[in-house]
Amino acid sequence: MTRDVGFDDFLDAVEAGDPQYLVDNDGRTHLPPMPYDPATGEKGLTERPVPEPGEILTHTTTQIATPQFEDDTPYVTAVASFGPVDITGQLRDISPENVEIGQAVTLGVERSETRDERVLVFYPA
């Protein structure tokens, strides 16, 4: 699969244990790719480490998936808050019925069952 600049770099950083988010001149936070400050057009936002663990804000268990994940069902997708940024990922190492809002999670990268592609995941902390 062809790499997507910024996003795949973020996955690389998660695998290396050092994911970074971005802060612009006005203090607003972003996830990559965001090569320019959207307010000023200036290049080069400040990188900051994503604080872990995060906390699940909401989640859903998907039964009917896109072809990219049809052999992965059922799986849990969640949005979790990691301090100043929220991140979307799949929950691993927990049964769907045991997932709770507010649960602490850490970041990881796994491969999908269907297409063996990298997926941003959460593990229970």
């Binding site: 997507d4 910024g6 996003f7 972003h30 996830l31 804000l57 909401t58 989640h59 859903t60 268990t61 998907t62 039964q63 009917i64 998936a65 896109t66 072809p67 990219q68 994940f69 049809e70 992965d72 799986y75 997708t77 969640a78 949005v79 940024v85 929220d86 991140i87 979307t88 990922g89 799949q90 769907p96 809002i101 999908s112 592609e117 990298r118 997926v119 941003l120």
Partner: protein, 387 residues
């Protein structure tokens, strides 16, 4: 600023028309609209056409001139993609074009979906989400709205049964509507016991996969008068809003500021407010979407619309009947056709020639709310009928 009148509207029946092409469907919708309008095709000065997934479903891009050709119109033609709000955007561009000096504009949209598998359609619809942060995490559209619903429950309360009443209401509204995909009732128990698609949504929380087309002939006030057209419905307000693309980047997952901005703009243009609206057609692609729409348009405070259908406030005999057409849930949701279909149904409701007009005989003001993606885009129109 000239008033924009709706001279005629037309829709195909929405449903499962697996072998019918988008172009075939649009030809039927426009033929119906021109017949309804009593306006010649030669008078059309521009065409705006909504379509979202033509490349996925029919390997067909560049659909503007194709749509004009199928309508029998020789005029500049442009396709608009705003996901499920594509033909709402087409209507808005038509309104603005007439305000800029045109006399006759054809607007509408079409979508063919059922020739794809369910997985294929799910993939195509997911293209309206963030391809990096959402789709690569396995998020589908039912999944995205499920995230919003579960967040809403956590923030404001409410439950699946509240949402089920929305589905029951909209199915009941569609029973006599021959253009609707589903003309049967549902019970709350049937909604709650349906197969889970993406928790908390069961099958009957989700709008169906639909094929269909819609069209409207918009004219200037002066053209309507000069040609003695019977066009009593005017578009008095139009608004469009955008929001952060991915859910994770939003300040709140239980508010839809794109719809708030679109509604505010449309109300301001019309010089009215939510209290002046008699009926509404809102984008209930999933049951929770109707809740978010009613709150964004100011009919309810945040957290208050979840029980509106259950309390009977948005049913046919409620204070604000919502989705008398059956909504996307029962009328169907061929995504590129939906926004203009809302205009078509609301026009007939206000004119008095819709099958459900009898339940709102005094309705004079209506509103449409057409959302794209997880409401990263939204188009709102205010329609008023001559007294």
């Amino acid at each position: 600023m000239t008033d924009v009148r709706i001279a005629g509207v037309g829709m195909t029946p929405f449903g499962r028309h697996t072998e019918r092409t988008g172009r075939d469907l649009f030809a039927e919708a426009t033929a119906r609209a021109f017949t309804d309008a009593g306006v010649s095709r030669e008078a059309v000065e521009e065409v705006f056409f909504g379509n979202f997934m033509g490349e996925f479903a029919e390997t067909q891009g560049h659909q503007g001139p194709l749509a004009a050709e199928m309508a029998g119109v020789q005029a500049p033609a442009t396709r608009l993609d705003s996901a499920c709000a594509s033909s709402g955007a087409a209507v808005r561009y038509g309104v603005e074009r007439i305000r800029a000096g045109a006399d006759v504009v054809l607007v509408g949209g079409a979508e063919r979906m059922n020739n794809l598998s369910t997985a294929g359609t799910t993939e195509a619809l997911a293209a309206a989400a963030d391809a990096l942060w959402e789709v690569r995490a396995g998020l589908t559209f039912p999944g995205a709205y499920s995230l919003m619903a579960n967040r809403y429950f956590e923030r404001f309360g409410g439950d699946r049964e509240d949402l089920a009443h929305i589905s029951v209401k909209n199915h009941a509204n569609a029973v006599e509507n021959d253009l609707a995909q589903y003309q049967h009732t549902l019970t709350v128990e049937e909604v709650l016991n349906a197969t889970t698609i993406s928790s908390p949504f069961g099958l009957y929380d989700c709008s169906p996969i639909s094929d269909g087309a819609s069209a409207a002939v918009l004219v200037s006030e002066s053209f309507a008068a000069a040609h003695n057209l019977d066009a009593p419905v005017r578009i008095t307000g139009t608004g469009q809003g955008s929001d952060t693309f991915a859910l994770q980047d939003r300040e709140s997952m239980v508010r839809t500021p794109a719809a708030e901005r679109a509604g505010d703009a449309a109300f301001a243009e019309a010089g009215i407010g939510p209290d002046d609206v008699d009926i509404a057609e809102v984008h209930d692609c999933f049951t929770v979407a109707e809740v978010l729409a009613l709150e964004a348009l100011g009919f309810y405070d945040p957290g208050e619309a979840i029980g509106a259908a259950r309390r009977g406030e948005t049913t046919v005999d409620g204070r604000l009947p919502v989705n008398l057409s059956g909504g996307l849930k029962a009328k169907g949701h061929p995504v590129g056709a939906t926004g203009c279909a809302q205009i078509s149904e609301l026009t007939k409701l206000l004119r008095g020639d819709h099958v459900n007009s009898d339940v709102v005989p005094d309705a004079e003001v209506g509103i449409t709310h057409n959302a794209g993606g997880t409401v990263a885009s939204c188009v709102v129109h205010v329609l008023e009928v001559d007294g």
